[in-house]
């Protein structure tokens, strides 16, 4: 079962600089071929740090644990190996399209850059760039290929970035908050595009986001992260129907919704996410949890245990499931 995963992460931990506090602590998850995985969490959850650390993109970070791409270990791998994977086998789309694009190079030049570096001829690489722009839905692709990033609108720029990420036909596409900076209608278009491309190419997709509505529509499986740990792992259909962790429930409850006018006020999670240097003992969520018992505070950090359709890190799971009906 696990050996079929295209990406297998085990006990991954990330520490920044000289601090001993772990921004990401011993997380484990897998990604199957062709699957779309959503990684959801708020700021400080470690969702971005974990993925960037796998690709060796974090500065001044100590990374421990294992992350195997098609059986090949990425943690601690040399730059040569990682360069061979980044862009070519694993594509990355980040939040701010403007920051990802070089303002002084044409869009076509940037899309074709990786291909040319792999030995393609300039002509063939450019042709492929035009083809990619068409695929991602940029109109007049053969002209726009010579345009500069600032000449595109936000949504179009993100499409260009997606084209860049897809250029070398990677096996995994990782998108970190790909639509946060975009308007709501464009968000849908960009997400539809990514999903469609993944389906066409048999590519796996990882979407990192804080937006649960994106998760609910575009993913197959979801992991919820809080303060550097995975607290729940579930499927798209089940997560919203039957959360396996009080934090997930809390997040779902606090979202305002159209048409839901029964409650005057939103149900909030009291308190704030912890600061890295001041992580609570035991379960990191316990200070904010209505189901917390003394075991939650005094025991070790709860591990992720398999439960029916997913995994949960809540030791009061039974109580939670009972009382949250």
């Amino acid at each position: 079962m696990q050996s079929m995963n295209i990406l297998e992460v085990e006990s991954l931990s990330v520490r920044f600089g000289e601090s001993s506090a772990k921004a990401v602590e011993e997380i484990s998850f897998g990604l199957a071929k062709g699957e779309t995985l959503g990684i959801a969490g708020e700021s400080g959850s470690g969702k971005t740090a974990s993925i960037l650390s796998i690709l060796g993109l974090l500065q001044r970070a100590t990374v421990e644990g294992s992350a195997k791409f098609e059986g090949q270990e990425l943690i601690g791998a040399g730059n040569k190996l990682l360069n061979g994977i980044r862009g070519k086998r694993i594509g990355l789309v980040l939040q701010d399209p403007f920051a990802a694009l070089d303002p002084v190079q044409t869009v076509g030049h940037q899309i074709s850059e990786g291909l040319r570096a792999s030995g393609w001829s300039k002509k063939r690489a450019m042709q492929h760039a035009v083809h990619l722009l068409e695929e991602v839905g940029v109109p007049s692709a053969s002209e726009r290929v010579n345009a500069y990033p600032h000449q595109f609108s936000g949504g179009m720029r993100q499409r260009v970035v997606i084209a860049m990420a897809l250029a070398q036909d990677p096996d995994i596409l990782i998108a970190d908050e790909p639509t946060t900076a975009l308007d709501v209608r464009i968000q849908k278009q960009v997400l539809d595009l990514m999903k469609q491309q993944c389906e066409n190419r048999g590519m796996s997709l990882v979407i990192i986001t804080h937006d649960l509505s994106i998760i609910s529509h575009y993913t197959d499986r979801i992991i919820i992260m809080y303060a550097g740990k995975i607290v729940e792992e579930s499927t798209r259909l089940k997560l919203f129907d039957r959360p396996l962790h009080p934090y997930t429930q809390g997040l779902l409850d606090c979202l305002p919704q159209i048409g839901n006018n029964e409650n005057e006020y939103l149900k909030t999670i009291r308190g704030q996410p912890p600061i890295l240097g001041q992580l609570p003992s035991g379960c990191r969520f316990h200070p904010r949890c209505s189901f917390a018992e003394s075991a939650c505070m005094h025991g070790p950090n709860p591990p992720l245990i398999p439960i029916k359709w997913g995994h949960s890190a809540c030791i009061q799971l039974e109580k939670f499931l009972r009382e949250s009906q």
């Binding site: 936000g154 649960l212 997040l251 779902l252 606090c254 159209i258 006018n261 939103l266 996410p273």
Partner: protein, 262 residues
């Protein structure tokens, strides 16, 4: 019908494209809206719709090319800075970015007391400190916060400070420009609850800008939908969201992916 607290008539504003260009973009195109006392009105639009421009214009923080702005029955479109000053007490603004809307070099106490000294006629140090302690408690912050500087607070907490700053002068009208868009979901919910509570307890009228329809639905009574500088739809929030008339509004609604929660 009650006289509107805030009203705009035919507001138009154009921005020039660049130094050498004679081209102008129209940020506001003949915009007329109103907010009645006690109402919370939503302003919805995508980027470039003109919603922020409208908010800044109403607050007299931006000049308009033509049109009129009325506050509490008086026209304020052309008022000079000194004539506007007493009105600043009644019309307050909460900005989108909690990381840039507070003076990093001022303590929370100094930030909030500035308005109190200007508009509440208090000059006694103890009185002012008590007021600040009260308002901080109202927005859910510890009164020791007043000795700290903005950088010691998280985004959500800074936004509470910004709200405290606005409320400290006891305004009649509050303009909130995407005040929760930069915040995490769980913090967003806290701030939204806070705003709803304040709205009820203090009977403040509000103009609330957001791109998030669910948030508008939660907080607002009525809403205006803006596109390319124009109001293209308006009405009670229930009506707009249940039976939108315009195609654009329908698009916005369906694109606002809604969580399939229980």
């Amino acid at each position: 019908m009650m006289a509107a607290l805030v009203e705009t008539r035919g507001l138009t504003k154009r921005f020039s494209q660049g130094f050498f260009s004679s081209q102008k973009t129209t940020a506001l195109d003949d915009v007329s809206i109103f907010i009645e006392p006690g109402e919370t009105v939503g302003l919805v639009g995508e980027s470039g719709s003109g919603k922020s421009t409208l908010a800044l214009s109403i607050a007299r923080l931006l000049h308009v090319d033509s049109g009129q702005i009325f506050f509490d029955g008086d026209e304020i479109t052309e008022l000079t800075t000194s004539k506007m000053r007493p009105l600043r007490k009644e019309l307050q603004f909460v900005f989108q970015d909690p990381y840039s809307s507070l003076n990093p070099r001022m303590s929370v106490k100094a930030i909030i007391s500035e308005g109190i000294r200007l508009h509440r006629g208090l000059s006694n140090k103890t009185e002012i400190e008590d007021e600040i302690a009260n308002i901080l408690t109202t927005v859910g912050l510890d009164k020791d916060s007043m000795r700290k500087h903005p950088k010691e607070f998280s985004g959500g907490q800074r936004q509470r400070i910004a709200i405290a700053r606005a409320l400290a002068v006891e305004p009649k009208f509050l303009i909130c420009d995407e005040p929760v868009s930069a915040l995490d979901m769980s913090i967003q919910a806290q701030i939204l609850n806070l705003l709803k509570t304040l709205k009820k307890e203090r009977n403040i009228s509000m103009l609330f800008i957001s791109h998030d329809l669910a948030v508008i639905n939660f907080l607002c009574d009525r809403a205006y939908i803006m596109k390319s500088g124009q109001i293209i739809e308006q009405g009670k929030v229930d009506k707009i969201f249940n039976s939108p008339k315009e195609r654009y509004t329908q698009d916005l609604l369906s694109a606002s992916l809604l969580v399939n929660a229980n």
